[in-house]
C-alpha cells in the first residue's frame, strides 16, 4: 500500500505539487490525469525521490521512504518513462538485467529472470536477446522498458506516459498486456497519462490534478457520476460520459430473463460492446451466453441505456 500524506513541492516561489494526499491499495492501478504542467510527473518522481519533497511524506507499506537510502528505494520501485531511456550501448538482455545486477544477483538467477520476462512480454529470446535498442521497433522498445522496470520484482511500478509514443493499435495492445501482467503479478501501479480512454481503461482509481492540486481521486464511475468540480467534468468529457459509463459496466450487470434471437453475446463483454452489437445488427435484444456457450438470458437496448443514464 502506498500512502501519500500532504506531499508538497515548491521550486522557489512556485508551488508545483500542493498538499496532495492519497492512498493506493496493494495490487491496484492508480492513474494520474490533468493538464500539462499540473504536477503529475513531479508527484510521481517524489515517490522514488528523484525529486525531494518540500514537505509531506510517502509511506510504502507503512515505511517512510525518507528512511530508506535513495538507491535502495529505487531498486525496489520500477520506473518507466516516455521514451523508455533504454541504454543504447547495452543489449536487450543487459538492459533488462540492470537492476538485478545492481542488486548483485548471481548470473544464473539473472539469466532465468530475463528469460522469464522476455517470455512474459512475448519477445522471442533467440531473436531479441542480443539486439541493441536501436534495432527494435517502438512497441518492442516499450516492452523492454517495462520488462526492465519489472526485473527485480518490484512491488510498485511508476509509469510516466509509458504509451505516449505508440500508435493507437500498438498502444491498445500494450495496455491489454500491462493489465494481464499486472493481474498476474499483483504489482501496484501508478501511471500518468494524457489519454482519458487509457485512464478509464486501466485505472482502478483515477486522480485528477490541476495547477498543482489534486481535485478528485475516485473510481472511474464516481468520476463520471459525481465529478467534484467543473474542471473534472470537462476533462472527463461531457459528450463521452454515457459511453464511458457503459464501458465500465459488463453485460452481467444488465442481463434480463427471457428469450431472444440472433448471435449471442458473451456475459463478460462490456455494455458498450453490447450496445454497439445491437445497433449494428438492428435488434432490440440479443441472447447472452456464458463461457461454455449456455444461454443465460438476454440483453436489451433499454436495459443498456439505463446504465448510461445520469444518476438521480
Amino acid at each position: 500500500m502506498i500512502e501519500i500524506e500532504h506531499l508538497t513541492k515548491r521550486f522557489g516561489e512556485t508551488i508545483v505539487v500542493d498538499d496532495v494526499s492519497l492512498t493506493v491499495d496493494e495490487g491496484t492501478i492508480a492513474v494520474f490525469v490533468g493538464t500539462s504542467g499540473a504536477g503529475k510527473s513531479t508527484l510521481l518522481r517524489m515517490i522514488n525521490r528523484l525529486i525531494e519533497p518540500s514537505s509531506g511524506r510517502v509511506l510504502i507499506d507503512g515505511q517512510d521512504t525518507m528512511a530508506i537510502p535513495e538507491d535502495d528505494l529505487r531498486h525496489r520501485i520500477g520506473y518507466v518513462i516516455q521514451g523508455y531511456g533504454l541504454f543504447p550501448h547495452r543489449t536487450v538482455i543487459e538492459n533488462i538485467a540492470t537492476v538485478p545486477r545492481l542488486l548483485g544477483w548471481d548470473a544464473k538467477r539473472i539469466a532465468a529472470r530475463v528469460e522469464e520476462l522476455l517470455d512474459l512480454f512475448q519477445l522471442d529470446s533467440a531473436e531479441f536477446a542480443a539486439k541493441y535498442p536501436h534495432e527494435l521497433s517502438g512497441g518492442q522498445q516499450q516492452r523492454v522498458g517495462v520488462a526492465r522496470a519489472l526485473a527485480a520484482k518490484p512491488a510498485l511500478l511508476l509509469m510516466d506516459e509509458p504509451f505516449g509514443a505508440l500508435d493507437p493499435v500498438i498502444r491498445h495492445k500494450a495496455q491489454e498486456d500491462l493489465l494481464a501482467i499486472q493481474r498476474r503479478l499483483g504489482t501496484t501501479i501508478m501511471l500518468v497519462t494524457h489519454d482519458m480512454d487509457e485512464a478509464f481503461h486501466l485505472g482502478d482509481r483515477i486522480a485528477v490534478m490541476d495547477q498543482a492540486r489534486l481535485l478528485q481521486y475516485a473510481t472511474p464511475a464516481e468520476l463520471l457520476t459525481r465529478p467534484a468540480e467543473e474542471f473534472v467534468e470537462r476533462l472527463v468529457g461531457t459528450a463521452e460520459r454515457p459511453f464511458r459509463l457503459l464501458s465500465l459496466a459488463r453485460v452481467k450487470d444488465a442481463i434480463e430473463p427471457g428469450p431472444s434471437q440472433g448471435e449471442p453475446l458473451p456475459v463478460s463483454a462490456t455494455l458498450r460492446e453490447a450496445l454497439s452489437q445491437l445497433v449494428w445488427t438492428g435488434r432490440e435484444s440479443l441472447p447472452v451466453t456464458d463461457a461454455s456457450g449456455a444461454i443465460l438470458g438476454r440483453i436489451s437496448i433499454d436495459g443498456i441505456l439505463a446504465h448510461g443514464r445520469q444518476p438521480a
Binding site: L73, Y79, G85, P88, H134
Partner: protein, 401 residues
C-alpha cells in the same frame, strides 16, 4: 557549443553521385600521371649534398628497359583510372603503380651516378612525387569507395607499413640522398624519433589525465564550464612560438629556484616548455569533447538510470562515459594528429624531435635533411589518424544509428 571534430575524414559519397565524381577524379589522376611522365623530372642529380641539382627525366634516370617498363605501368594505371570504375581494380592498379615507382627510384642512383663517386646525391624529383600523389589519390579514393570496415582499414595500413619497412630494410633505397642523410645520422634519427613521440604522446597522456576529469567537472558544474572553456580557447589562439616564450620565464625561474626541477631536466628552454605548450594546446579538444560527449547522452537515458537506482558513480562509469566515449576519442584523435605535427616546432627551442632535422636542413639549405624530418612526421600523423578513426568506429559500434 559544438564538439571539435576532425576535418580530414573522407566524405562518404552517395552511390548515385559516385559515377560523376569518380570519372572526374580518374581524369585528374590520369592528367597528373601524364604530366609526371612527360613534363616533370623523375630524379634530381647533384654533384654534392648542397649544390643546385640537375633534373633527369625518366628516360635519363633509369636503364632504358626499366624506364619503358615504368612508363607503361604508369600509363596503364592512368587508363584504368580514367575508364574503369570498379574500386578493387583501381586499388590494385594504383598499388602496383606505387610498388613499381618505389622500386624503380631506388635504381636511379646506381644509373645516373658515375662509378666510384660517393659525393654525388640523387633524390626523387617532382615527377616522382607527382606520380606518388596520383597513385595515392587513387588508393585513398578506392578505399573510401570500398567502405572498408575498421579492421580492414587497419589491415590495409599494416600491409602498407610492412611493405614500406621491407623496402627500407632491403637496402633498395640506400643509394638515395634521403637514406644517405639518414645513414650519416642514424643514431640521432632514432633519438629524435623517441623524443618526438615522447613530446607528442606524453603531452597527450598528460592532457587526457587532466582533461577528462576537468571535462567531467565542467559537465557536472555548468557554472565553471564557460570559464574553463574560455581560458582554454584563449590558450589555443596563442601562436606556438609565443607560447614557448611565455613559458620560458616561469620555467627558468622554477629551474633556478627548485633544484629538484633542474635535476629532472626542467629548464626555461628545451623539452620542458615544449611539453607544457603541447599539453596546454591539447587540453581544449579533450575537455570540450568530454563535455559535449557527456552532454549529448540523452536525458531520458540519464533519468532512467537515476530512476533505477544507479549511484552517481555507477551512472558515470556505466552509462555516461561509455556513451560519451566515441566523442571523447574524437577529441583525442585531434590532439594526437595535432601534437605529432606541432612537436616539430619544439626543435626551435632545443626541445628535440624530428623538427631538429627540418630546421637544420633549412639552415644548411639541405632539402634532403628537411625531408628526413618532415616525412616521418607526416607518416606518423597519417598512421595515427587511420588508427584512431578505426578506433572511433569500433567505439561507436552497437549504438550507432
Amino acid at each position: 557549443m559544438n564538439a571539435i571534430s576532425p576535418h580530414t575524414s573522407a566524405p562518404r559519397v552517395a552511390s548515385a553521385g559516385a559515377a560523376v565524381s569518380l570519372d572526374r577524379l580518374g581524369g585528374v589522376v590520369a592528367v597528373l600521371i601524364g604530366v609526371a611522365l612527360f613534363v616533370a623530372p623523375f630524379v634530381t642529380y647533384r654533384a654534392n649534398r648542397i649544390v643546385a641539382g640537375e633534373a633527369r627525366m625518366l628516360l635519363d634516370a633509369l636503364p632504358m628497359a626499366m624506364a619503358v617498363g615504368v612508363m607503361s605501368v604508369a600509363l596503364g594505371v592512368a587508363l584504368v583510372a580514367a575508364t574503369i570504375r570498379q574500386p578493387i581494380l583501381r586499388l590494385s592498379a594504383a598499388a602496383l603503380g606505387l610498388a613499381v615507382i618505389f622500386l624503380a627510384v631506388g635504381r636511379a642512383p646506381g644509373f645516373v651516378t658515375p662509378p666510384g663517386n660517393t659525393f654525388a646525391r640523387v633524390s626523387p624529383a617532382f615527377g616522382f612525387w607527382l606520380l606518388t600523389l596520383a597513385f595515392a589519390l587513387l588508393v585513398a579514393d578506392s578505399i573510401t569507395r570500398l567502405r572498408l570496415g575498421p579492421f580492414a582499414r587497419l589491415a590495409a595500413l599494416a600491409v602498407a607499413a610492412a611493405a614500406m619497412a621491407m623496402l627500407l630494410l632491403s637496402g633498395a633505397w640506400d643509394g638515395l640522398s634521403l637514406l644517405k642523410e639518414y645513414a650519416t645520422r642514424a643514431d640521432s634519427f632514432w633519438r629524435e624519433a623517441r623524443q618526438h613521440l615522447f613530446l607528442a604522446l606524453g603531452s597527450l597522456a598528460a592532457a587526457t589525465l587532466v582533461g577528462l576529469p576537468l571535462g567531467m567537472v565542467c559537465y557536472r558544474v555548468p557554472r565553471i564550464k564557460t570559464a574553463i572553456l574560455q581560458v582554454l580557447n584563449i590558450i589555443q589562439t596563442i601562436p606556438s612560438i609565443a607560447l614557448f616564450g611565455i613559458l620560458m620565464v616561469p620555467l627558468s625561474i622554477l629551474s633556478a629556484k627548485v633544484p629538484l626541477a633542474a635535476a629532472l631536466g626542467i629548464h626555461g628552454i628545451g623539452a620542458a616548455p615544449a611539453f607544457v605548450a603541447l599539453f596546454l594546446y591539447s587540453l581544449l579538444p579533450v575537455v570540450a569533447n568530454t563535455v559535449v560527449g557527456l552532454e549529448q547522452v540523452p536525458a531520458s537515458v540519464v533519468d532512467a538510470a537515476r530512476g533505477m537506482g544507479l549511484s552517481k558513480r555507477q551512472r558515470l562509469f556505466q552509462v555516461e562515459l561509455p556513451l560519451a566515449f566515441p566523442i571523447i576519442l574524437t577529441g583525442i584523435r585531434i590532439v594526437l594528429v595535432q601534437n605529432l605535427g606541432l612537436a616539430t616546432v619544439a626543435a626551435l627551442i632545443g626541445g628535440g624531435g624530428f623538427g631538429t632535422f627540418v630546421f637544420q636542413g633549412i639552415g644548411q639549405t639541405a632539402i634532403d635533411l628537411v625531408l628526413l624530418g618532415a616525412i616521418p612526421t607526416v607518416a606518423l600523423s597519417f598512421m595515427a589518424a587511420v588508427i584512431l578513426d578505426a578506433a572511433i568506429d569500433l567505439a561507436r559500434g552497437p549504438s550507432r544509428d
